[in-house]
C-alpha cells in the first residue's frame, strides 16, 4: 500500500469509528431520555396512604420517570402500590423522625452529597461527601447518622480504593469524624494499621454501634463506642453488619470463597451465645448491607442480571435452609420504618 492509500484508509477508519460512536451516543441519549420520561409500571398510591403505619422505604429502580426516587410501601403489603416521595437518593435510610439520603451529582466534576430530610421529606441539612455513596444508617431514635462512601483511587493502575465512614448528629451538631481515627482494639490489643478501612455502621443506641473493619486482608465485626472513640473486634470475617430489631443478633455478609474472587453469603451471629449461622440456601453473591424485616427475616437488594441498573429487594428467613423470596420489585436500599 502506498503512503497515500494508508492515509486514506486511516481517515476512512477514523470517520467510520467516529460516526458509529456518535450514532450510538445520540441513540442511547434518546433512549435514556425516552425511558426516563415513561410512567412507572409499578402501581402507585398517594403518599398520605402509607405514612402512618409501619412501612418500607426504598429507592425505586424501575427505568422510568421515577428512577432513583425514594418510594414507600406499607409493611403489610410490600408488593402492593408504592408512593413516591419526590426525593432522589442513591442510598437511603429512614426512621419515623426523618431520613438520610446519599446522592451523587454526576458531571464533569462528579460530586457527592449527604442530605438529611424530615418526616415530610423536606431537607434539613446537607454535607459534602468525599466519595461514592455506599451505605447509610440512622440510630434507632433517629438522632445519629452514619455514612460510608468509597474514596476511589482515580486510576485503576494506582491504589485500589478506600472507604470513609463518618458519624454525626442528624440535622447538624456534633460530628465524630472518620471512624478510621478511632482506636482499634483487635483481640484485646490496641493496634494502628495504616491500611484499615471501616464501613457499614449499624447502631445499637446513641453511643454504641457495630461496623466492619478491614485490615491486612481480613475483615472484622467491631463494636464501636462513640464516647470512648474505640472500635473493638467481636468476630472475624464479617462485613456490613445489621442488628436485629430485638438487639440479640447481627446479620452480615461473609466471603464464602476467599482467595481470588469474592462470593458473599449472609450469616447471622447470636450475640449472647456467639453462635454463627450461615444462610446456606440464601443468596450468593449479594453485595448489600442487609436490613431486618422482623426478628427472623432479613431483606437485601440484588441487581437483575439482564437489566443493568434495575435491582429487586428480596427477603430470606434466617435459617440455613430457607430460600429467598422476592419482596419488592425494582427496589434498592430498603429500610423498615416501625
Amino acid at each position: 500500500m502506498s503512503t497515500r492509500a494508508r492515509v486514506l484508509a486511516f481517515i476512512a477508519v477514523v470517520v467510520a469509528i467516529a460516526v458509529a460512536a456518535t450514532v450510538y451516543v445520540v441513540d442511547q441519549g434518546r433512549e435514556v431520555r425516552a425511558e426516563r420520561a415513561a410512567e412507572p409500571e409499578a402501581e402507585q398510591t398517594p403518599i398520605a396512604e402509607v405514612t402512618d403505619g409501619p412501612r418500607i422505604v426504598f429507592r425505586h429502580t424501575g427505568l422510568d420517570s421515577q428512577y432513583g426516587v425514594v418510594a414507600v410501601v406499607p409493611l403489610d403489603d410490600p408488593g402492593g402500590p408504592r408512593a413516591f416521595t419526590g426525593v432522589s437518593c442513591n442510598r437511603v435510610a429512614a426512621r419515623p423522625e426523618g431520613a438520610s439520603c446519599l446522592i451523587s451529582d454526576e458531571g464533569v466534576a462528579t460530586s457527592y452529597e449527604g442530605v438529611e430530610l424530615d418526616a415530610d421529606w423536606q431537607q434539613v441539612a446537607s454535607n459534602d461527601l468525599p466519595g461514592i455513596p455506599s451505605r447509610t444508617r440512622l440510630s434507632p431514635d433517629g438522632t445519629l447518622v452514619a455514612t460510608t462512601v468509597f474514596v476511589a483511587g482515580h486510576s485503576y493502575m494506582s491504589t485500589g480504593f478506600s472507604t470513609a465512614t463518618e458519624v454525626h448528629e442528624f440535622g447538624g451538631g456534633e460530628r465524630w469524624g472518620n471512624l478510621e481515627k478511632f482506636q482499634l482494639v483487635v483481640d484485646g490489643r490496641e493496634v494502628n494499621p495504616v491500611d484499615r478501612n471501616v464501613w457499614g455502621v449499624t447502631f445499637v443506641d446513641d453511643d454504641t454501634f457495630y461496623a466492619t473493619v478491614a485490615t491486612g486482608g481480613s475483615t472484622w465485626l467491631v463494636e464501636g463506642d462513640l464516647a470512648e472513640r474505640t472500635l473493638t473486634t467481636v468476630s472475624q470475617d464479617a462485613e456490613c453488619p445489621s442488628l436485629s430489631p430485638d438487639g440479640t443478633r447481627v446479620a452480615f455478609k461473609v466471603d464464602v470463597d476467599p482467595g481470588r474472587l469474592v462470593e458473599w453469603q449472609i450469616a447471622v451471629l447470636d450475640l449472647t451465645t456467639g453462635e454463627r449461622t450461615l444462610l446456606e440456601a440464601g443468596p450468593r453473591g449479594l453485595d448489600d448491607q442487609v436490613e431486618w424485616l422482623d426478628d427472623d427475616t432479613v431483606i437485601y437488594g440484588m441487581p437483575r442480571a439482564d437489566e443493568p441498573g434495575v435491582t429487586d429487594t428480596w427477603a430470606v428467613d434466617t435459617t440455613p435452609d430457607a430460600a429467598p423470596e422476592l419482596l419488592i420489585e425494582q427496589a434498592w436500599s430498603a429500610t423498615v420504618v416501625r
Binding site: V14, G107, G309, T311
Partner: protein
C-alpha cells in the same frame, strides 16, 4: 513505506546538540498520538469504573481491588516477553500492535462483562496488552531518534501520553452529563478511541526495524537476539541503579495518603491529586527531556530522584497547607518527567541493537518489581513508625541512595552508546 528512514541519524554519526535542533521525528509523534488515544480510552474507563461497578453492576470496588494487586507480577513477566518477541522477530511495530490490539479487544468484552470475574479478566487482558506493547514501542522511539535528542523524543512521547490520561476522565464525565447513567456510552466511546489508536499504529505507524535497517545501511549484520545480550556490561550498572532507587520509590498512593493524614486537606480533593501530578508531568516532560540531552541522561535520572525525596518531605511538612500539597504534586510530576522516559532512553542505547526492546523491558521490569517491593515494605514501616517518621526515613534513605548512585553517573553517561 519506509518513511522511518529519514527519522534516523545518518549512519550513526553523532552531531553535537546545537541551536539548530531537528524537528521531533514522525515516529515519535505517531507513537505519541497512538498512546494519547489509548490513554484517553483506558483512563475514561478507569475514571468511571468504580461508579459503574457500584451503580450498575452492583459490586463494591472491594471485590475488584483485591484482584487488582495480583496481576502486577504477571505484567512484569509479560513485559519481558513483549521485549523478547520484538527483538527476536525484529518486528517491534507488530508486537506493539498486538499489545494495543489486545487492550482494544478487552474493551469490547467490558461491554458485556458482568460480575467481578468478568471485569477482572477484562482488566487483566488490558494490563497484559499494556505490558506487551511498552518496550517495543519505546524501542521504536529509541531506534528512530538520534542519540543526542533521545531525552526530548521520550519527553514528547510521554507528554502526549499524559495528555491522553488527563483528557480521558473529562471525556467520560462529559458523556455522563449528556447521557445520564450512560456507562455503556462511555465504554463504547472508549472502544472507539482504542480502535482509532490501533488503526493509526497499524496503518501509519512506521515499521521501524533496527536489525534489518542495519543490514541495509551496509553495516555489519547484527546477530540474532540472545538473552546474554541483557548481561551487557554497560546495562548492568543501569539495572543496579534503577533497582536500588526503585526499592525506595513507594507508591503515589502513600504520598497522597500522607497528605490526607495530615488533615487540613479535604478528602474531596483526592482525585485531583492524580490530575495535579499528571499536569506537572506533562508540562515538564519535554523541558526535562531536553535538559537530560544536555547534561546527561543518567545524571538526570539519578538527580531526578531528589525531586521524589522532596515530595516525601513536602507531604509530611508540619504545616500542611495548600502550598505544601501543590509542592508535593509538582515534585512528584518532576520526578516522573526526569525518570520514566529517561530510563527508556538510556536503556535502549546500552544494549546491542538486536536487544533494544529487551533491554528497555529489563530496565522497566526491574523498576516495576523494585517499586512493588518498596510499597509492600513501606506499608509495614508506616505501621511501625507512623506516616511522618516513615516518610522521613525513606526520604533520608533515598537521598543516600542517590549519593551512592551518583558514583555510577560518569560510567553510565560516558558509556559507548549503540546508535
Amino acid at each position: 513505506m519506509y518513511i522511518s528512514v529519514r527519522d534516523r541519524p545518518a549512519g550513526g554519526t553523532t552531531r553535537g546538540s546545537s541551536s539548530t535542533r531537528p524537528p521531533v521525528g514522525r515516529v515519535v509523534i505517531t507513537l505519541g498520538i497512538v498512546s494519547l488515544l489509548t490513554d484517553v480510552s483506558s483512563e475514561s474507563v478507569s475514571a468511571i469504573l468504580p461508579l459503574y461497578l457500584t451503580a450498575v453492576v452492583g459490586l463494591t470496588p472491594v471485590a475488584y481491588g483485591l484482584i487488582d494487586g495480583l496481576y502486577q507480577g504477571v505484567s512484569a513477566l509479560v513485559r519481558l516477553g513483549g521485549g523478547w518477541l520484538a527483538d527476536a522477530s525484529d518486528r517491534p511495530k507488530w508486537v506493539a500492535f498486538l499489545g494495543y490490539g489486545l487492550s482494544a479487544v478487552a474493551r469490547v468484552f467490558l461491554l458485556f462483562a458482568s460480575g467481578a470475574a468478568g471485569i477482572a479478566a477484562v482488566v487483566t487482558a488490558d494490563r497484559i496488552g499494556k505490558g506487551i506493547r511498552t518496550a517495543p514501542r519505546d524501542a521504536m522511539i529509541s531506534t528512530a531518534t538520534p542519540t543526542e535528542h533521545l531525552g526530548r523524543a521520550f519527553g514528547v512521547h510521554r507528554m502526549l501520553d499524559t495528555i491522553g490520561a488527563a483528557l480521558g476522565p473529562l471525556i467520560a464525565f462529559g458523556l455522563l452529563v449528556i447521557v445520564p447513567g450512560g456507562y455503556s456510552v462511555v465504554l463504547v466511546v472508549s472502544l472507539a478511541f482504542a480502535l482509532a489508536g490501533v488503526a493509526l499504529l497499524g496503518l501509519l505507524g512506521p515499521d521501524v526495524r533496527a536489525r534489518r535497517d542495519r543490514e541495509r545501511s551496509s553495516g555489519p549484520t547484527p546477530p540474532p537476539f540472545r538473552w546474554r545480550d541483557l548481561t551487557d556490561a554497560r546495562l548492568r550498572p543501569l539495572l543496579a541503579v534503577a533497582g536500588v532507587l526503585g526499592l525506595l520509590t513507594i507508591g503515589d498512593g502513600f504520598i497522597y495518603l500522607a497528605l490526607l493524614d495530615h488533615g487540613g486537606i479535604n478528602v474531596t480533593w483526592f482525585p485531583l491529586f492524580y490530575v495535579g501530578t499528571n499536569v506537572a508531568y506533562l508540562l515538564l516532560a519535554v523541558p526535562i527531556g531536553r535538559l537530560a540531552d544536555r547534561v546527561g541522561r543518567a545524571r538526570t535520572l539519578v538527580v531526578g530522584h531528589l525531586a521524589l525525596v522532596g515530595a516525601y518531605l513536602c507531604a509530611v511538612l508540619p504545616t500542611s497547607t495548600a502550598a505544601a500539597t501543590v509542592g508535593t504534586l509538582l515534585l512528584l510530576g518532576t520526578f516522573y518527567a526526569a525518570t520514566d522516559g529517561v530510563i527508556a532512553a538510556i536503556a535502549g542505547r546500552l544494549v546491542p541493537v538486536q536487544a533494544r526492546s529487551s533491554g528497555i523491558a529489563a530496565a522497566q521490569t526491574v523498576v516495576a518489581l523494585a517499586r512493588m517491593l518498596a510499597s509492600a515494605g513501606f506499608g509495614l514501616l508506616w505501621l511501625l513508625l507512623g506516616p511522618t517518621v516513615a516518610m522521613a526515613t525513606v526520604a533520608a534513605l533515598l537521598a543516600l541512595a542517590v549519593l551512592a548512585a551518583a558514583t555510577r553517573i560518569p560510567r553510565l553517561d560516558g558509556a559507548a552508546v549503540t546508535t
